[in-house]
């Protein structure tokens, strides 16, 4: 799906809506400054920006793990607040519909074995054991890590940990997948495999939001880009092809060097008009 300017989503029909959100770590280090954005069901959206611009923080807000100091966040037509997520029923519904793959797989893969790790989410969702066992086996097979099932996470390589982290989220079959720098630290073949998987999941109706500063894979990974400036604000929000063509903007937000061309343009690849 290629998004044209006319197809840009409105807040009315959005699945996730962030309005005027600001967040500071320790009340001193700003990460988000008056950020507003929305994501429609079935979209592939990339949060683009240089290091430290607030992409990961926004992903955590979307995952209901951090709560804005100012502004508000609405998901599935319900306000997501710290207080609201203390309601067990709401928390269970929200957590089962929103899956998040962290940038640091080390922190996400914490169970004694890979099988236990993948079963962690479904167990907390309260699924039946037979269904959990079936889902875990299917996920292990889909991610080609069946042979790792009884291994401990500390025995795995970086790429294997990333696969386990993705399996541990997909096994919960969330509607929305949030991914923080999904292709970082992966070799070329694993990157290709992951992109194909995300495209397939999106085609099946999953909403995908990912944070990245890798422009090379962007045209396959996202239909729309929300670009962050280094002052933690949204610089622009538009279709991927338009954002990739805007060299001045990419240079201003420190995604490409001033005077250089975006990787796709530099490679001579055609961009959709």
């Amino acid at each position: 799906m290629t998004v044209s300017d006319a197809d840009m989503p409105t807040a009315d029909d959005a699945l996730l809506i962030v309005e005027g959100a600001s967040y500071s770590y320790l009340d001193r280090f700003p990460a988000l400054d008056d950020v507003s954005m929305s994501v429609q069901s079935g979209e592939k959206v990339a949060l683009l920006g240089a290091n430290g611009c607030g992409k990961s923080t926004l992903l955590k807000v979307l995952a209901g793990l951090l709560f804005p100091d100012r502004g508000r966040y609405t998901a599935f037509a319900a306000h997501v607040t710290e207080d609201g997520l203390e309601d067990a029923q709401f928390a269970r519904g929200f957590r089962s519909r929103v899956g998040v793959v962290f940038q640091n797989s080390e922190a996400q893969v914490f169970s004694p074995t890979v099988r236990e790790e993948i079963a962690f989410g479904p167990l907390n969702m309260g699924l039946e054991r037979d269904e959990i066992a079936e889902r875990v086996d299917d996920s292990l097979a889909m991610l080609d890590i069946l042979d790792l099932a009884d291994r401990a996470p500390y025995q795995l390589s970086g790429g294997q940990k990333k696969r386990v982290a993705i399996a541990s989220v997909l096994v919960m079959n969330p509607d929305v997948l949030l991914l923080d720098e999904p292709t970082a630290t992966l070799d070329a073949r694993t990157q290709d495999w992951l992109i194909d998987l995300l495209v397939e999941l999106n085609a099946a109706g999953k909403t995908i939001v990912l944070a990245t500063h890798d422009l090379n894979t962007l045209d396959r990974l996202a239909d729309r880009c929300i670009v962050f400036s280094e002052d933690h604000r949204v610089a622009t929000d538009g279709p991927t092809h338009r954002v990739l063509r805007d060299q001045d903007l990419l240079a201003a937000v420190n995604l490409v060097r001033a005077g250089s061309r975006s990787p796709r343009l530099a490679a001579g690849w055609p961009l959709p008009s």
Binding site: K60, A63, G64, L65, A88, A91, R92, R95, S96, V98, G99, V100, F102, N104, E106, A107, Q108, F110, S111, P112, T113, R115, E116, A119, F120, G121, L123, N124, M125, R129, I132, A133, V136, D150, A152, P153, Y154, Q155, S168, V169, M172
Partner: protein
């Protein structure tokens, strides 16, 4: 940012090699860094070994973890109540038989148990064997001290023997339980037996962070070793390094703890320990419980027969 305007001159010149020839320098023994990295590797090796043992198809490994926890804890309580060395030795022999039936290498099992006993109990029981602490018949004279005869008494040695055999049997039972049960199943069994949720949470987190922090320490020390050009780390710099590492690790641990917690919460974690394994009582479990009860009754009976 221009590279030429900020790169210092010395960085653009060749460094004089510290020792260009292939001469043989002074050999040195490992310092804090080497010991820590090899210690971390040893711990990982030991954990891998424990996991292999827990994965064997021996007697204890085939039992329902709840049955195992209850039975072995029951035997532990009985052991604490026994008053005669021969009965305790009988119980200890029983633990050896269980270890053998669980495909544990006996030399490893015995070593693991007896390695700690001199450290933890030796300090306590050794003074009690002397006649100045425990009065009685001196069987091993050690000479005189300020005009008094000094020696080991029969009563003191018997008391020390009692403590040592009791501790050895108790540790053997605990080692049998922990080495034959994967950690996740042990925690789930404790939770199923209504152990406090907070206790399970703390134990589970401690185990999870152990390996993450172990990796962090190893990375820090390996990075340090890669930049150590001069000779051995002396005691003072070793202490400074340990202190600095502890501080850095504390910060890393806090960040990591927050990240792990967020990753758990994101997948619906609300403080309960759950396991994929469904516990099921079978005939073997019932037979094991009966055998443990019979052993406990026999031990207590013989102990009472031998008198107080």
């Amino acid at each position: 940012m221009s590279a030429t305007s900020t790169t210092p001159k010395w960085l653009l010149q060749h460094e004089v090699g510290l020792c260009p020839c292939a001469c043989i320098g002074k050999r040195r023994k490992g310092g804090v860094i080497e010991k820590t990295t090899s210690g971390a590797a040893a711990l990982l090796r030991q954990t891998l070994f424990s996991e292999d043992v827990a994965g064997e198809r021996g007697l204890l490994q085939r039992l329902d973890p709840r049955v195992k926890v209850l039975s072995l804890l029951g035997l532990l309580v009985v052991t604490a109540d026994l008053r005669h060395i021969p009965v305790l030795l009988g119980m200890y022999a029983g633990t050896l038989a269980l270890a053998a039936a669980s495909k544990l290498r006996l030399s490893f099992f015995v070593k693991r148990v007896w390695l700690f006993i001199p450290v933890f109990t030796g300090v306590v029981v050794l003074p009690a064997t002397l006649n100045v602490v425990t009065h009685g018949d001196i069987v091993v004279p050690l000479g005189t001290w300020f005009g008094h005869h000094l020696g080991l008494t029969e009563q003191g040695l018997r008391s020390a023997g009692l403590v040592v055999t009791r501790v050895a049997t108790s540790i053997s039972l605990v080692v049998l339980l922990t080495i034959s049960t994967p950690w996740a199943k042990l925690l789930a069994a404790l939770r199923a037996l209504r152990a406090p949720r907070l206790l399970i949470l703390v134990l589970g987190m401690a185990y999870r962070y152990l390996f993450l922090l172990l990796n962090a320490v190893t990375d820090m020390y390996v990075a340090r070793r890669a930049r150590t050009v001069a000779g051995a780390t002396d005691a003072t710099s070793g202490r400074l390094l340990v202190a600095a590492s502890a501080g850095a690790l504390f910060g890393k641990a806090q960040t990591l703890a927050e990240e792990v917690h967020l990753a758990m919460v994101a997948r619906g974690y609300a403080g309960d320990a759950r396991s994929v394994t469904a516990f099921r009582m079978r005939l073997l479990d019932a037979a094991f419980v009966l055998a443990c009860v019979a052993a406990a009754v026999a031990a207590v009976g013989v102990d009472r027969l031998l008198g107080r």
